[in-house]
């Protein structure tokens, strides 16, 4: 019989904490009802009764063993594979009836299929990456463009300054550029003051 019997382990306090309910005969009745419901749904025949589900060895843990008997076939137990399949199909309903989960209402020997994690169509990190990259590219473009503009302004300024210097340099004295005058050859008339007073200082 051990082959068709299943051990169940329930951890109510772990799941519900302060809202934990006590495990008593009423809960056992509900459990039997849920297993019978599962068998009925699975095999679609309405022969399984609550009395077909037998619990034994209930401990303080809370844990117990149960078997499902088949009243139509002389007090034999329903094969374990059928029970397993039935429980698997209705696991969610059974869990919810007791406000528990797969981990806190354990059917030892029956593994549960794990739900896949939700995966969005585009990974989130790509979206964030796109945002970050756009910001960086905008920043670079801004700096490069402002650099080019500054460069152009500096070039314009330097050419303007060159023009200005040319104008200053080519001061004429009686139509002759000053550099052409050979000041050494001539005689400096001290009356007219020092040379540099001729030009206004900038």
């Amino acid at each position: 019989d051990a082959q068709n019997a299943f051990k169940v382990r329930i951890s109510i306090k772990t799941a519900l904490g302060d809202n934990a309910y006590a495990w008593d005969a009423n809960e056992e009745y509900l459990f039997k009802a849920m297993v019978a419901f599962a068998m009925r749904r699975y095999s679609s025949k309405s022969t399984t009764q609550i009395s077909n589900v037998l619990l034994c060895n209930v401990t303080d843990r809370v844990s117990f063993w149960f078997v499902v008997t088949d009243s139509s076939k002389n007090v034999t137990t329903v094969p374990g594979s059928e029970v397993e399949a039935a429980i698997r199909m209705n696991r969610n309903r059974i869990n919810n009836a007791f406000l528990l989960s797969d981990k806190t209402l354990q059917f030892l020997k029956i593994t549960s299929t794990l739900s896949p994690p939700v995966e969005p169509s585009t990974p989130v990190w790509l979206i964030v990456f796109g945002v970050v990259l756009c910001l960086i590219v905008v920043g670079i473009l801004f700096l490069v463009v402002s650099g080019i503009q500054k460069h152009k302004k500096k070039n314009k300024e330097s050419t303007e300054r060159e023009n200005l210097e040319e104008k200053v340099e080519v001061t004429l004295e009686n139509g002759i550029p000053c550099e052409a005058l050979d000041l050494k050859a001539g005689h400096i008339n001290g009356v007219f003051g020092a040379d540099d007073e001729r030009f206004t200082s900038l």
């Binding site: 401990t59 809370v62 670079i140």
Partner: protein, 610 residues
């Protein structure tokens, strides 16, 4: 008329907007990832608070003197590393070249570490965090095997991030997600260094100050976590016996040296943009002390989080044992709590010893969990990420943590890039009229292309190789020649006069003694000890191999001969530049002396070159 004579003296050299920018840049360069993930580890394994004794001794006799030397050098000569050493003596020009080379090599792989940080940052916006759950296997009956046997955090790091190969010889393929992150990291570095210190000077305000903010937030949060105080007490309690081990002193000396980012040339470049009449002595002491204080300050949240993680691991261990016992003996729930666990165990062991033995309970010892020490990338990407999962509001903590790591690394990258950029700018590799943006763009592009090697499957093994060989031994050699060069070739008397002119006061005896004798001696001892320790066993590495019997332990492997040859090349190439350039100049001098009629035009140009 116009200020023509002054313009040529100013020579259009860029300068810092203000002194604070300069100090912040130096601090940002010195304060890097090592302050967060190497110093706390060293404190932990070398007797907690006792480690501070050799650390501060090394700071006083090695760190501060060398730092002052570099800053004074750059400030007085107003040139990058290559130009500065050429000015001191053409025979010592090799030191500058070696510095430039080391800066380049380190830039290549350092940004790849930032790539990993960026990848984790991008993944921190998900709920739940991707490193907290294992993915399912194909038929959805259980978890992915590799993930199940190690942990979800390990799996995310080794498989989802690195996609690591089991051996360094297996290169694997380029990981496209890492290539994308690498491209954006280099674009970010380009954005910040586009015009040299004009742009990094603005960026440094954020990247240098932000980590302190985040560290403070983590400090406050860390101290509120359960188990934090136990962690802090255990990890900081000094164990003076460890000081007998010479390894501790060596680690302290190397930590100070690498932590201050000496011998990279970046500090010389930063100081060269200063006005000459600047108190470099005070700057050096300030930067060194701030760097060390930051290391200490960073250890507090790190130890708090480690203590928290150890405590939760201990509680998990206890809980697992309790569940096993309760299930085995069918005891009611919550009959055994963590507090009365030990008494229950002794009772049950006396009455049912075989059953207890059959359960194979793990012994849970809090100190054992606290002793698990990790440094480097393991600390950030495995241990810390695991701790972050356990904190409430994990996304926010993860985002903050990774932005902080990114800023820490970025401000160090500025220094590295500056160490490469400034000498190239002075050597006038490109025409004067071409914009600076072009040169920095070329540097970033070439570095990106070379760094693509590190995004291969075996990339992280190569980064370890570069870190251990290119970023360690050459720096010690360069620093040694630096001190010897200034103290005995340039002569301390001349140098102290220069420093006096800059700072306005006489050099104290402390600097004279350390520059002349103590620092070179210390560097020599550290170098010898370091090399001896490396040579003691064949260079090996630990590989992540899912097919290894001891998995999830990492497999210890020896580097194949061709990799060992590359290691030697990486370490020797920068060092060899120093004698090579000296030899080159010696040969040139001999040729010149043989033919007196041949006078090279450079002789005339040297005087006008500012």
């Amino acid at each position: 008329l116009s200020a023509a004579p002054e313009v040529s003296k100013e020579d259009g050299r860029p300068k810092w907007d203000n002194k604070f920018q300069y100090i912040l840049s130096c601090i940002g360069f010195a304060v890097g990832l090592g302050n967060v993930w190497r110093f706390p580890y060293l404190c932990q394994i070398h007797g907690g608070g006792a480690f501070l004794i050799p650390y501060f001794i090394a700071l006083v006799f090695e760190g501060i003197p060398l730092l002052h030397l570099e800053l004074a050098l750059g400030q007085y000569l107003r040139k990058g590393s290559v130009g500065a050493w050429n000015t001191i003596s053409p025979y010592l020009g090799g030191i500058g070249v070696a510095m430039w080379m080391v800066s380049a090599l380190v830039s290549f792989y350092y940004n790849t570490v930032l790539t990993w940080v960026m990848w984790y940052f991008l993944n921190s916006f998900q709920e739940p965090l991707p490193w907290s759950v294992c993915p399912l296997n194909e038929n959805r009956t259980g978890f992915n095997e590799e993930c199940y046997e190690s942990t979800a955090v390990n799996y995310f790091w080794y498989r989802k991030t690195l996609n690591i190969t089991p051996d360094i010889a297996e290169t694997g393929t380029l990981q496209w997600w890492l290539v994308l992150c690498l491209a954006s990291c280099w674009a970010f570095v380009y954005l910040c260094t586009i015009r040299g210190i004009e742009t990094t000077g603005k960026a440094i305000y954020v990247t240098a100050i932000f980590p302190y903010l985040v560290l403070t937030i983590f400090l406050i949060q860390g101290l509120t976590l359960p188990g934090a105080t136990e962690g802090l007490i255990y990890l900081f309690t000094p164990n003076l016996n460890t000081l007998k081990n010479p390894r501790v002193w060596l680690d302290a000396a190397t930590q100070i040296f690498f932590s201050l980012s000496l011998a990279f040339g970046g500090l010389i470049a930063f100081a060269s943009y200063n006005p000459t009449k600047n108190d470099c002595e005070k700057d050096a002491v300030t930067v060194a002390i701030v760097n060390s204080m930051t290391s200490l300050y960073a250890s507090i949240p790190v130890f708090s989080v480690l203590g928290f993680k150890a405590t939760t691991a201990y509680w998990d261990c206890l809980d697992r044992n309790i569940i096993n016992i309760i299930n085995e003996f069918d005891l009611p729930e919550e009959s055994i709590m963590r507090q009365n666990y030990t008494s229950w165990i002794s009772v049950l062991n006396s009455s049912y010893p075989e059953k207890i033995a059959g359960l194979k309970l793990k012994s849970c010892d809090l100190h054992e969990f606290l002793d698990q020490s990790v440094s480097g990338t393991g600390l950030a990407f495995i241990v810390f990420t695991q701790a972050i999962i356990l904190m409430p509001g994990s996304q926010a903590w993860a985002i903050l943590f990774f932005i902080m790591l990114f800023s820490l690394g970025l401000s160090s990258m500025f220094g590295n890039i500056e160490g490469v950029f400034t000498p190239l700018l002075e050597l006038q590799i490109i025409r004067r009229s071409a914009p600076k943006e072009l040169l920095s763009g070329i540097i970033c592009l070439i570095s990106f292309l070379i760094a693509l090697c590190f995004t291969l499957g075996s990339g992280s093994y190569w980064i370890d190789v570069f870190d251990r060989y290119a970023g360690s031994v050459p720096l010690l050699v360069i620093a040694f020649f630096e001190v010897i060069g200034v103290a005995y070739v340039y002569k301390i008397k001349r140098f102290s006069k220069d420093v006096e002119w800059m700072t306005g006061r006489k050099l104290s005896l402390y600097w004279q003694v350390t520059w002349r004798f103590i620092s070179p001696l210390l560097l020599l001892i550290v170098f010898m000890a370091f090399v001896t320790l490396q040579m003691q066993k064949p260079p090996s590495y630990t590989a992540w191999n899912p097919k290894y019997e001891g998995f999830p332990m990492k497999e210890e492997k020896v580097y194949p001969p061709w990799v060992q040859a590359i290691c030697v090349l990486l370490a020797a190439f920068p060092c060899v530049c120093v004698p090579l350039v000296a030899l080159f100049h010696l040969v040139k001098q001999k040729c010149r002396s043989k033919g007196p009629s041949f006078v090279p035009p450079e002789v005339f140009c040297q005087g006008t070159n500012s």
